[in-house]
Symmetry: D2
Subunit: 293 residues, 4 copies
Amino acid sequence: MRATFSIGSDLHIGGDHFVVMAGPCAVESRELLFAAADAVAKSGATMLRGGAFKPRTSPMSFQGLGAEGLQLLAEASHRTGLPVVTEVMDPRDVGLVAESAGMLQVGSRNMQNFPLLREVGRQPKPVLLKRGAAATIDELLHAADYILNEGNSNVVLCERGVRGFDPSTRYVLDLAAIPVLRERTQLPIIVDPSHGTGDARYVPSMAAAAMVAGADGLLIEVHAQPELAKCDGQQALTPAIFANLMAKLRALAPLCDKNLCDRSLLRGAPDGVAGRKGDANRSNSVEDEVIAP
Amino acid sequence: MRATFSIGSDLHIGGDHFVVMAGPCAVESRELLFAAADAVAKSGATMLRGGAFKPRTSPMSFQGLGAEGLQLLAEASHRTGLPVVTEVMDPRDVGLVAESAGMLQVGSRNMQNFPLLREVGRQPKPVLLKRGAAATIDELLHAADYILNEGNSNVVLCERGVRGFDPSTRYVLDLAAIPVLRERTQLPIIVDPSHGTGDARYVPSMAAAAMVAGADGLLIEVHAQPELAKCDGQQALTPAIFANLMAKLRALAPLCDKNLCDRSLLRGAPDGVAGRKGDANRSNSVEDEVIAP
Amino acid sequence: MRATFSIGSDLHIGGDHFVVMAGPCAVESRELLFAAADAVAKSGATMLRGGAFKPRTSPMSFQGLGAEGLQLLAEASHRTGLPVVTEVMDPRDVGLVAESAGMLQVGSRNMQNFPLLREVGRQPKPVLLKRGAAATIDELLHAADYILNEGNSNVVLCERGVRGFDPSTRYVLDLAAIPVLRERTQLPIIVDPSHGTGDARYVPSMAAAAMVAGADGLLIEVHAQPELAKCDGQQALTPAIFANLMAKLRALAPLCDKNLCDRSLLRGAPDGVAGRKGDANRSNSVEDEVIAP
Amino acid sequence: MRATFSIGSDLHIGGDHFVVMAGPCAVESRELLFAAADAVAKSGATMLRGGAFKPRTSPMSFQGLGAEGLQLLAEASHRTGLPVVTEVMDPRDVGLVAESAGMLQVGSRNMQNFPLLREVGRQPKPVLLKRGAAATIDELLHAADYILNEGNSNVVLCERGVRGFDPSTRYVLDLAAIPVLRERTQLPIIVDPSHGTGDARYVPSMAAAAMVAGADGLLIEVHAQPELAKCDGQQALTPAIFANLMAKLRALAPLCDKNLCDRSLLRGAPDGVAGRKGDANRSNSVEDEVIAP
């Protein structure tokens, strides 16, 4: 039996649920964030992704809007009804981020940032833990143990590509990690084909392949105008291509014994302005947890 | 438009066709070969794979049955109606192997064995070219150029995993190579999840993922009794698991705009003993070739 | 002109100076630490290494003695006259570690822990920045920029091996990173052959090779009784082998235009009990800095 | 005791001998070859390298002069007294190449070209076997076994870089392979820093590091006019830089217990026109072989 848990009353992760977390790489402005959020909500995404604190290779690159970005994400979540997943990089920011987000992301560069892992393990929101670019699968599981050991059992693992030698793609998306992880853990497993390939042309096929390979969800970058993105624009899908991908995933889901919950139907809000508010980022309910802390 | 070509009158590769090449890693004995061949034919494989000349890391390992293995493959092909794909390692053996096989395989270790590439380019049978474990996609395409330049335009490219750092799998199966190759070449692309993962537990999910990612076919190891295999037994599917996989592929094919030809239906020979004989390994017809020499 | 800076009055890093930082992987007990510290001081090491906060793959492994370990390191430094380099993992610990250490180490897992990089950039002690196992050289230099940008120009870069596919060694020690870095930066470059190979048998040859390749120093694990080490014992040199290595390095240094300062001679304290005290971990002097903040 | 063997009466490989094989990547013309040959002989190289049959990634690239190139190499060998090492790619060419060369090279792309390995194992000239770019050290040793098993015990192993993720260098030169190989085999080990780094700026430091790490020799590309080279010009040393490197190696050799034989002194032919002729490429003598066939 695979682990499952919930965010709010109607978002389930794991088991036969398939979650699609979509949105821009970084929160850049209210207009761009809302445009992306509305679009992904309309197409049936189950969570909104977006970075307020951005880990960037160079200190000269755009570092994210910080607390202001968190506030915008909260507004976008309220607007669309989609819970937010967003990255936290600093153990001192965990409380702040946990207030706004439905799920905390630990990025690939921080997979072995043990003080951060412990800190996210001490708060109740679910944690998305991304595999490091040079991390073995066992190292990923040991990193998850740091969170689990603090009492937070709601950890989602994310394959996002490992370092390879071929510049054809940014990383090598290791889809075999999905069945390997399914042998070794009950934790839900999602895939990030956006970072894994670094190229929007390759994202839809890898997203569909991940579902068929047994993933429990996807993390996908969508930008209203990718050519204007301050970060990673070349890997962001346009809203139209994302909508096509969602249709494809919906068609494949029954063959994969997966249920692709369409939150826009739940809320009767196909225009992205949801009726359900406030509890979108509510702490996870405990009733359907199956992972012991 | 993707390139297509045929082997015999009814086996098409490329376009909307999906080819499944299945069989044992190595030809070990008539009994084991026929058992595997009958099983994969019954489940709907389109070609029979099997090694007569085996490239083995150590000279102490089983090196294949050589010419005797080719003869057994010809018998198995005759018996099942499935054309054979088998590896050739030595440019001096190309003529011999081309007599028995419907398609010649150049293995991953020989992707840049240029005399061999030229030699298989000078004979008319289609060639399956496997990506080297440290080869970039551009290097694979350049290797294919060595064959194409000699006048043989019927080249199928095969992704079979690249070297990685995680011992969880034998290689890292680079499924993103599929959409990358589709951007760069018209040649058909197949995937070998058996070598790509090295573990039978991971083969079905990676095989299905490859189809969904846009592959034109699969190369899969099936052994009647994997625990007895002289080579790579841990990555061979049993006939029962292979049959399940074929059912899954048949269900997925329509969603991928692929046509999974069931040769057993064509021949009314679900028990693996085909009615069509003799021309199973016939040289490819030219009428539907679209690749210019 | 290469950058140089000092720790205390007589320890110089960069330029024609060659620094050897040696000691145990982790501080385990007063006895073992002092035994190692005395041994490396006697053989001519220029700094004492030792971990109080240990980043370990699994939370079940020994995590270091923490603040108690820092105290023991300070005692060992006082005893031997060797300044201490020790790792800091948590931005909240930077002040604490900076009080005890002559140099702060940012480990390979934290190379892109940007809050930590900023924090060590805001305090005056020199920083040893280790290359991540999947980091390109340019990514290492960008990570150093995070420290430099905060005003701390005393950064030492450390090559310690990148992920590779061959289990013969723990990592692939990329010695070509030395000449590559010399083309791209003035910052001093040291090499950690202990982590880079993971095997004490290979450390001496790689240490000598690093010096000849142009490194400004070494980081080497030495343990009084490697078979008892709680962490990484298989890669620790015994005091006797370390002494032989130091003799080899002394012989090679003149051919590499390097000056291998023997601190034991400076202090007339070949038994490891130094006369100079108190200022061993003094903040770096500024008079010979050549790196602009 | 390390294995040693001889080429002609005065060139020894292995043991305390250090061999430097230098020359152009490819034989391009009589003038350029002789200029390079004279230069490397004058600086004290012990063998002349140069490719007549060139394995090139693309069939459109210069493929070498073939038999004509072998003839030019024989002339250059006669002229300088330096035995020639040159690559053979096709098992059908082994006899031809063995006539002209003092040592046959099996290139990295052919490390697991087993028919070729067997063929070079059946002739008496020594064989230089280069490690494949994705080959583990054990795979290299197994490949050597294919040669040894045919009765040719004079195999020299060559580390030339493995695939890595950092475009800063063409490959990752794995110098730790030297001590690892010394643990596992008696066969002599040489290093090719030219292909290993792909950049002439990094070759001298890596060459010196290889000697200090325990290598038995080097394979170095030297071109009279690198900017005109038809292949790999960016990694070729100029004659002047090669001369400086030889001086450095001579200085380091005594510290490495190595004897860097200067063949130009032996022959009183500092201008590169040797007195000794005819036997430069003579088959290896057997009296000092210590490797059992």
